[in-house]
């Protein structure tokens, strides 16, 4: 067992672990205090919390003046993230199949386009998108920002789905076609079940990026009726009159918990995507 998990028994590992522990310390510290500070009070000038409190979590049951209700904001975020995920999964599972298997004109061109767009820094288009949404009346609406976010993440989704379809053996489809099924039927009943891990990965990834998205809702849908958690939290932090890190962090923990749960349960699916080049 020891030989298997360790590249070599000839070298000692503790200096490496020590070095990595030291450089990781700031991160661990920041995350540890993120959670600790939400349920404790700390005297000014001290680093060690001295009393337990739930007052930082007040925002859950009382809405401060001028701020939208946290549950409305959470609902908006949920609608935003699930809609984006649904659109991306539906559209990219169809388009990915076409690019992987079907003979359509301009297929190579489209695939190249998807690759270029995947690398392309789409956030630079935000000014034009902002003006367009104002012109067509989708500014400050969830639908507008959902469509924009879905479109921006679509190239990655198509690209990943195409990769998953590429691994499905042709024999499955040939058997289906020989048995007289239409190509659509073959896709729907035979191929789609084979790429379930791909759909999971694309879906989870889309959900996480949509849940975390800040700049698009901030620019395209800042209104209090359609606010999402990222915009809510950043407005809270930007408000100089009520500067209270305890509350900020409590909102932050409230906001990050779904992300951590998804990551803990499904990190196996996500690892491939993060390694394959997501933006950031």
């Amino acid at each position: 067992m020891a030989e298997k998990s360790q590249p070599s028994a000839n070298y000692s590992t503790w200096p490496v672990i020590l070095a990595l522990s030291i450089v990781s310390a700031p991160l661990v510290l920041m995350y540890a205090y993120l959670f600790i500070d939400t349920i404790t009070d700390t005297a000014a000038g001290s680093l060690i919390p001295d009393s337990f409190t739930l007052r930082h979590w007040r925002f859950l049951w009382e809405t401060p003046a001028g701020k939208p209700n946290i549950w409305l904001v959470t609902l908006n975020t949920l609608i935003f993230a699930t809609s984006v995920t649904t659109v991306i999964v539906l559209v990219s599972s169809m388009a990915g199949y076409v690019l992987s298997r079907l003979n359509v004109p301009g297929r190579g061109f489209f695939l190249a386009g998807v690759m270029v767009l995947h690398a392309f820094p789409s956030v630079t288009l935000i000014i034009a998108i902002f003006i367009v949404l104002q012109m067509i009346g989708l500014y400050n609406s969830l639908i507008g920002v959902i469509l924009v976010k879905a479109a921006i993440d679509l190239p990655l989704g198509i690209w990943l789905m195409k990769g998953f379809y590429d691994t499905v053996p042709w024999e499955i489809e040939m058997a289906g076609v020989v048995d007289g099924a239409s190509r659509f039927r073959v896709w729907r009943s035979l191929v789609l079940p084979q790429v379930r891990p791909g759909i999971m990965a694309v879906g989870l990834f889309s959900f996480l990026t949509a849940w975390s998205e800040f700049i698009l809702p901030q620019v395209l849908a800042p209104g209090s009726k359609v606010q999402v958690l990222s915009v809510y939290l950043s407005a809270l932090i930007a408000d100089d009159n009520n500067f209270d890190f305890g509350t900020f962090k409590a909102v932050g923990v409230f906001y990050i918990i779904p992300v951590l749960i998804v990551y803990a349960l499904f990190h196996k699916y996500l690892m491939n995507i993060y390694g394959g080049g997501s933006k950031g």
């Binding site: 990781s24 003979n103 695939l111 998807v114 820094p121 076609v177």
Partner: protein
């Protein structure tokens, strides 16, 4: 018509439409908007024509007498005025006579209009004359016209005799909408602020890319390679946290670290240093934090890419080198690093573009400050077009700045397509029907 082609077109249509609407159209429109002087003041739809006091001032230099006339009210006997007179409850004969004799007349001054009213056969009393004349007071100042034609016809009814050239210059100064212009690009090229922003951008991309996305990611890869798999997994998960954490929370944690009541201040306070905002205290510190904040996110991608490249190296090479007595450094130098050329190129290419365009982290942490010390190109475009303290958002100029990034983005990503050998990725379908 074969079925797979038909099915393919139907299935790819949603993706094609979305990409067309939200990628290609914005790319084109960024170009279009960059050629305009759109701002909050001009609005984004077409403008209107408004003879505002400042536009009269503009006119004074070229056509002083016409500007003078426009500033004064005129008295036009028109249908709207007649209705108002009828509503005054005066003797009905006055209105009837006025309509019969004078409808369509225009008087240059109040006095002339009142003289005419006094001269009517019905002989209205002096207070009535004042009331009546008031109904016909027509001024072009501050009235809005939705098109050139409306503006001109209003000027004609009020009896301004203008040549076509004069009309055009009136239309020019009173137009409130946006115009086509190439000024945005000359402003970008000549402004010293822009040069500073360009320098910041290059510095930012270079520092984050070299220090974290490649060098530090490589270090993480090597460190986690030389440790048992359990701690390696833990450390990889820790270093992935910045990437999966929503950016607002992630930057909040850094703010807490650096704020004047935050961790560093309190810690340094124990050694007698006064508390201060370590992030925004001076430009040097701001840069350190901006690079750290982005670097900690960026390191994880390199770490994963390099680690998976490392897994592809046959284990036997490591065993053989150990038997031959190679040190760790020699393993790294002669086995690992030579295999990393492509992964490094991939990470560099990929991250250059995303660093050039992303401004989330800087916006949330320093807002480009202190002063404009950490303002990078994409953030400057955002500040110009979408959010600034002055309140007048210059969409046109912002679009021109974004266009620079769009062009760089297209050129680089097309280039990457060539480097990473796209030709091998498309294979012919095996079922033809």
């Amino acid at each position: 018509m074969n079925t797979s082609r038909m099915l393919g077109l139907v299935m790819i249509a949603p993706a094609a439409i979305m990409i067309l609407l939200f990628f290609l159209m914005p790319v084109v429109l960024t170009g279009v908007f960059s050629m305009t002087n759109m701002t909050t003041a001009t609005g984004i739809s077409g403008g209107a024509y408004q003879i505002a006091p400042h536009s009269l001032n503009d006119l004074k230099s070229t056509m002083p007498d016409i500007a003078e006339q426009m500033a004064q009210p005129r008295y036009a006997i028109d249908e709207a005025g007649m209705k108002a007179v009828e509503g005054l409850g005066l003797d009905a004969g006055i209105a009837t006579e006025l309509r019969a004799k004078h409808i369509g007349d225009v008087f240059q001054t109040r006095r002339e209009a009142e003289r005419m009213i006094k001269g009517l056969d019905q002989r209205p009393s002096t207070p009535d004359v004042k009331k009546i004349s008031e109904q016909f007071n027509r001024s072009v100042v501050n009235s809005r016209f939705s098109s050139k034609e409306e503006l001109f016809s209003a000027l004609d009814t009020l009896g301004f005799k203008l040549t076509d050239a004069q009309k055009d210059s009136v239309a020019d100064v009173t137009y409130t909408g946006w115009n086509w212009t190439t000024e945005n690009f000359s402003r970008i090229a000549s402004s010293p602020d822009m040069a500073r922003v360009l320098f910041n951008t290059l510095l930012y991309v270079a520092l984050v890319l070299v220090l974290f996305n490649t060098a530090y990611a490589m270090l993480l890869m090597i460190w986690t390679h030389y440790m048992p798999s359990a701690p390696a997994t833990i450390f990889r998960s820790i270093w992935l946290l910045p990437r999966i954490t929503p950016v607002v929370i992630y930057v909040l944690m850094w703010k807490w670290l650096a704020w004047d009541t935050g961790f560093i201040s309190v810690l340094m306070g124990k050694f007698g240093y006064p508390p201060k905002n370590y992030m925004l205290d001076n430009a040097y510190n701001a840069w350190v934090f901006v690079v750290l904040i982005n670097g900690f996110i960026g390191a994880s991608m390199g770490m994963l890419v390099f680690s998976s490249a490392l897994k592809a190296i046959p284990k036997s090479q490591f065993f053989a080198s150990e038997v031959d007595g190679a040190s760790r450094w020699q393993q790294i130098r002669y086995i690992i690093l030579p295999q990393m050329r492509w992964p490094i190129l991939f990470v560099t290419c990929y991250q250059t573009l995303s660093l050039l365009a992303s401004f989330n982290e800087i916006l949330l942490s320093t807002r480009g400050g202190p002063g404009k010390a950490t303002e990078v190109w994409s953030l400057a475009a955002y500040h110009t077009a979408l959010n600034n303290y002055a309140g007048n958002l210059e969409y046109g100029l912002g679009a021109a700045m974004a266009l620079v990034l769009v062009v760089i983005g297209i050129v680089l990503s097309l280039g990457y397509l060539r480097i990473f050998n796209y030709g091998t990725l498309v294979s012919r379908p095996l079922i033809e029907d």
